[in-house]
Every structure is written in structure tokens, then in C-alpha cells.
């Protein structure tokens, strides 16, 4: 589904403090599977996730999404692909403070011009699905860690994306909540979603929900398996 060939990502290219975050990665990510990018901090997992999720363009190399070359598309087209194809769960959830959990969930769909009432209904259903419908009108900063995480997951799902990208999703969760998260991932897999997770948490990469672990170090892939 997603093909990466010879991907390089260099930050501050041409400057003395240039940093190569991803260095010649070629990878094929299968549809409807759970893939974990595993590696220590600074190994390039997050940068690779950004490239896969059309958040950034590679310095060199090509990315194909369902056979279509997307790495050289202008920002507008990339944004459109990003919001229709990918759902993001960030390490620190990044919920917008001061507005309700419900509004946070609705946010990614706003630019699509969907009917406001229908959108609101769908967002409520998603919160209900994750058992936090009662907290829908609570401000995001009043949510507990678990509630915030489930709100972030609901937000990632609002546009019904084919691919879910999660960056260190369990980094701020205790064991119980981390296991709950992996249960949700297993549910996504059952719903035929493609999931790509960057993590160095054994609770994630050792989970039976995971199909494939890609090891990364210094911006390169070490071993691809199983």
C-alpha cells in the first residue's frame, strides 16, 4: 500500500548543523496490517512517520501511496491526502486546550465542509465507541490521561482514514492504559485499517496485535521482520 524507496530526510540541509534523520530507507508497508517502527530515541522513527503520513516531503527518494507517487506533490494536495487517508495519534496527544473533547474530535473534519450537525453526531458516536461520551463536553485539559488518549484516537478516526499513524502512543500511559490502547489497535486491524506505530515500548512491539516490527537505528533500517 505504501512504498518507500531510498528515502532521505535531511534537516537544515547545506548548513554546518545539518542533520540526516532518515538515511536511504526503502520499505514496503502492507495494507490492513499493523507495523511498528522500533528504535531508540533519535533513530528516525518519528521523521519516517512524518514522511509516510505526508506531513513532510523527503529530501530525496520516492513515496508511493497505492501506486501513486506522492512525495513531490505540492502542499495543498499533500494536505488533502493527509486528511482523507491518514489519522494521527501524537505522542503528547496534542489536544487543543480550552475547547471540548467533542470539538477536538471534530476539528480534522472542519475543512472538508461536512454538515456541522452530522459531524457532531459522528464525533459523539466515536466518543461513545471509546466509552467517553459522558466527557464529550468537558474541556480537553480536564480529561484524564486515558480520556485524553481516547479523545486523540477518536480525533484520528473522524475522517475514517485508511491508515492510522501513532507516534509513541504509550509514552505517557501506564501499563493498563497501554494494554487498552493495543486492544484498540487490534480492533482497528479487525476493521481492515492499516496501522503504523513508532514505539520503543515492549508492550507495543511485543503485542500479538502487531504484524511486523521494523527496527531502526541512526536513520536506517536494521532488520526487517518477521
Amino acid at each position: 500500500m505504501i512504498e518507500l524507496s531510498e528515502i532521505r530526510k535531511v534537516f537544515n540541509e547545506g548548513k554546518t548543523y545539518a542533520l540526516t534523520a532518515v538515511d536511504g530507507v526503502s520499505l514496503s508497508l502492507e495494507a490492513r496490517k499493523v507495523t511498528v517502527l522500533r528504535g531508540p530515541s533519535g533513530s528516525g522513527k518519528t521523521s519516517l512517520l512524518s514522511l509516510i503520513g505526508c506531513m513532510a516531503r523527503p529530501t530525496s527518494g520516492r513515496i508511493h501511496l497505492e501506486g501513486r507517487e506522492i512525495s513531490s506533490l505540492p502542499e495543498r494536495f499533500l494536505t488533502d491526502i493527509r486528511r482523507r487517508t491518514f489519522g494521527f495519534i501524537f505522542q503528547q496527544f496534542h489536544l487543543i486546550k480550552g475547547i471540548s473533547a467533542l470539538e477536538n474530535v471534530m476539528l480534522p473534519a472542519y475543512p472538508l465542509g461536512e454538515d456541522h450537525d452530522a459531524l457532531r453526531k459522528r464525533a459523539r458516536e466515536l466518543l461513545d465507541l471509546f466509552g467517553i461520551a459522558a466527557r464529550a463536553d468537558s474541556r480537553s485539559e480536564w480529561l484524564s490521561g486515558g480520556e485524553a488518549q481516547r479523545t486523540a484516537i477518536a480525533r484520528a478516526l473522524i475522517n475514517d482514514p485508511a491508515v492510522i499513524i501513532a507516534d509513541e502512543p504509550t509514552a505517557h500511559l501506564d501499563t493498563k492504559l497501554s494494554r487498552e490502547f493495543m486492544d484498540i489497535v487490534a480492533r482497528f486491524r479487525g476493521q481492515q485499517k492499516t496501522i503504523v506505530i513508532a514505539s520503543h515500548d515492549p508492550l507495543v512491539y511485543d503485542s500479538p496485535a502487531v504484524d511486523r516490527v521494523v527496527n531502526m537505528r541512526d536513520g536506517r533500517i536494521e532488520v526487517s521482520g518477521p
Binding site: T46, S47, L49, S50, M55, A56, E75, R76, T79, R82, R83, F88, F90, Q91, H94, I96, K97, G98, I99, S100, E103, M106, L107, P108, A109, Y110, P111, L112, G113, E114, D115, H116, L119, R155, N159, D167
Partner: protein
């Protein structure tokens, strides 16, 4: 189109929730902004309405006033001048006028005395304006003593008080008969304050004026359009003074608004990053900021303009009355006819709503063009 509207509706909805987060600060901003618009709009409405009122008042005024000049000063004009002017082609309705000022030491006020052209008034009677009536607590039936040229008091009976609809021009007015006027100021028969006349073809007014000056070189013709121009410049000058005073407040507000609108906090920048990361385009973020600026400035504009309307037309415009009406002692009490110049309202709109909105959008531009992956790396 429907999709675009729904998209804007969604963004506007988020804008309102977003503004509600900093409720106190935004309400304070709108209040200050509203007061400023109220002051500016009041000056605009007030001067415009006064000017219009002056035009209405002067509509029935004679086309030209002829004054006699002596050593550069306005002097009394003899009746024979009127006879000479009647010979000028195109002139009609030439008549002498009698008017002047009277200082009332009791209330330290100046009144305007006038002998009406057509009157049924009896000698020994007087009709006064509402301002005079208020100042002297004098009403129909009362006796009003007026000191004559020789220091002797002349007692006149008040027969009427002029209606308040004409108070703009009649507040300080006193109407008396020609006989009483001449007696009070020892003015011999055959002399007038000035001469007024009409011109049959209004386009000939300048030509007639030139002919009169040629015929009577010691006279000065004043046309109706010149009077109107003088009113205009007086009101412009007065409103200019107020605007200059207001400019200090305006400047303070500009600094305040600029700081509020342009200084994106780290939190706001982070939010923009999150919005971009979850699928908002740069244009969507700029729309968000546009609506944010528009909601604040349009609310203030509409509220300020509406309040200014109430202030100027439904209340006595207490804030500007002394400087804009500018009567010496007798401030007329009258309500201006609601008269708004759409061009002025549009100018006010562009001076208030547009700069604020632009100053909200421009600084967000840079923040909105950040790479969406910045939030992943934060």
C-alpha cells in the same frame, strides 16, 4: 458553493469557541474598540447631520446678501443701494434687512435680533427663541426689558416662543418690529443692516454678484453657496479638533490592538501546528484568523455605530455638544434629524474593521506556513 459555506461555518464555529477561551480579554478588547468606534462615529454622524441641517435651513435663504463695507468693516447700507441693485438684470425681490446682536448682562449671553420680513407683530411686542426663554425664564405674556442705545430700558411684551424644531437657528433669536428695532438702536429710517435679493436664474448668481460690485464698489455680495461653504468648513474644522483629540485614544488603541492581534503566543503557534498536522491547510488557518479578527472588529463596529446613532440622534449628544454646536452661552436643545452618509459609514468600516482584521491575519501567515511535522517533533 454549499461545501465552501459549510467549511466556513465550521471554521467560524471553531473561531467562536476559540475566542470564548479568552473571554475576559476579548470582551475587554471589544469594549474598548466599541467605545472608540462610538466616539469616531458620533463625530462623523454629528457633523454630517449638522451640515445637512444647515443646508435645509439655508434652502429658503435669499440667493445673495449685499453688505456695505467701510474700511474693511461691515457698515449700514442706505436704501438707495437697493434701488440701484434693482436695476441689475436678473435680480428680483430686493429688500433691506435689519438685524444685530444684543448682549444680555443678566445671563452673559448674546442674542440675535431680527426684524422679520413679513410679520403681524404689533410694535412693543417680541417673539423669542427657546434658548432665550430658558435663559431668562421668560414666557408669553411676560415683559422683557431691553437696554437701548441711550441706556434706557425698552419694555417689550413676549407674544410667542419659537418652536424647538427650528431651534438650531432660532435658539438665541429675538424677533421684533422695525419700529422697535430702530428705536432701540437709534437707526434712522432708510438705513439697513444689509440687503438681500433673489436671482431668477441660479446659474447667473456669480454674474449678478460681479455686476453689483461693479455698480457699487463699496459692497460685498455673499452668495448662499458661500455661506454653505463656510458652514462646511466650520463643521470640518470643529470635527477636525475632536478627531485630533481622539487621535491620542486611537493611537493607544492601535498599539493595544496590534499587540493583541499580532503577537502570537507560543500556545497559539502550537495550536496552528496541531491544526496543520491534523489536516488543515494554510488557507484554513488564515480563514480562522480572518474570522477571529472580523468577529472582534465587526462586533465593535456594529455596536459602536449603533451606539453612536443613539448618542447623536436619540440623546442630546452630550459628549460633543459644547465643541461641535459651539454656541456661546445658549446651547440649543434640539434633536438632529437622523441623517447618515453611507460613504462615511463605509470609511469608518475600512478604518476600523479592515486594519484590525489584516493585523490579525498577517502575523499568522508565517505561523500558518510551518511544516505540519513540526508538531511531531515538538
Amino acid at each position: 458553493m454549499g461545501l465552501w459555506i459549510e467549511r466556513q461555518r465550521n471554521i467560524l464555529d471553531f473561531t467562536l469557541s476559540s475566542l470564548a477561551r479568552r473571554k475576559g480579554k476579548n470582551i475587554a478588547l471589544v469594549l474598548v474598540y466599541t467605545v472608540l468606534v462610538l466616539l469616531l462615529a458620533s463625530v462623523m454622524f454629528f457633523t454630517h447631520a449638522l451640515r445637512k441641517q444647515a443646508v435645509l435651513v439655508l434652502q429658503d435663504a435669499p440667493a445673495m446678501v449685499i453688505q456695505r463695507m467701510a474700511a474693511g468693516r461691515h457698515d449700514l447700507i442706505p436704501r438707495r443701494y437697493a434701488d440701484a441693485i434693482r436695476s441689475v438684470r436678473g435680480v428680483s425681490g430686493v429688500r433691506g434687512r435689519l438685524w444685530g446682536y444684543y448682549f444680555d448682562p443678566v445671563v452673559s449671553a448674546n442674542y440675535t435680533l431680527l426684524v422679520p420680513e413679513r410679520t403681524t407683530q404689533e410694535p412693543g411686542t417680541i417673539v423669542i427663541g427657546e434658548g432665550v426663554s430658558r435663559a431668562r425664564a421668560a414666557f408669553p405674556g411676560d415683559i422683557l426689558p431691553i437696554r437701548g442705545y441711550d441706556g434706557q430700558l425698552v419694555y417689550l411684551t413676549i407674544t410667542d416662543v419659537l418652536s424647538s424644531t427650528s431651534e438650531l437657528v432660532s435658539s438665541d433669536l429675538m424677533l421684533l418690529t422695525e419700529q422697535d428695532y430702530r428705536r432701540l438702536f437709534n437707526l434712522p429710517d432708510g438705513l439697513y443692516t444689509d440687503i438681500v435679493l433673489d436671482v431668477r436664474n441660479s446659474r447667473e448668481v456669480p454674474t449678478v454678484a460681479a455686476k453689483i460690485v461693479k455698480l457699487l464698489p463699496d459692497t460685498r455680495p455673499i452668495t448662499r453657496s458661500e455661506v454653505l461653504r463656510t458652514y462646511d468648513s466650520i463643521f470640518d474644522w470643529r470635527s477636525g479638533i475632536v478627531v485630533v483629540i481622539l487621535s491620542a485614544a486611537l493611537l493607544a488603541f492601535v498599539i493595544f490592538a496590534w499587540d493583541k492581534a499580532s503577537g502570537l503566543s507560543a500556545e497559539e503557534k502550537k495550536e496552528i501546528g496541531v491544526l496543520k498536522a491534523i489536516g488543515w491547510e494554510t488557507a484554513d488557518v488564515l480563514w480562522l484568523k480572518f474570522w477571529e479578527g472580523t468577529v472582534i472588529s465587526l462586533t465593535a463596529f456594529l455596536a459602536g455605530t449603533a451606539l453612536a446613532y443613539v448618542h447623536v440622534f436619540l440623546t442630546p449628544a452630550a459628549l460633543f455638544e459644547p465643541v461641535l454646536k459651539g454656541w456661546s452661552t445658549l446651547y440649543p436643545r434640539f434633536r438632529l434629524l437622523p441623517e447618515i452618509d453611507p460613504y462615511q459609514v463605509a470609511t469608518l468600516f475600512f478604518l476600523t474593521v479592515v486594519p484590525y482584521t489584516v493585523s490579525t491575519v498577517i502575523p499568522s501567515w508565517r505561523a500558518a506556513t510551518i511544516d505540519p511535522d513540526a508538531v511531531m517533533r515538538s
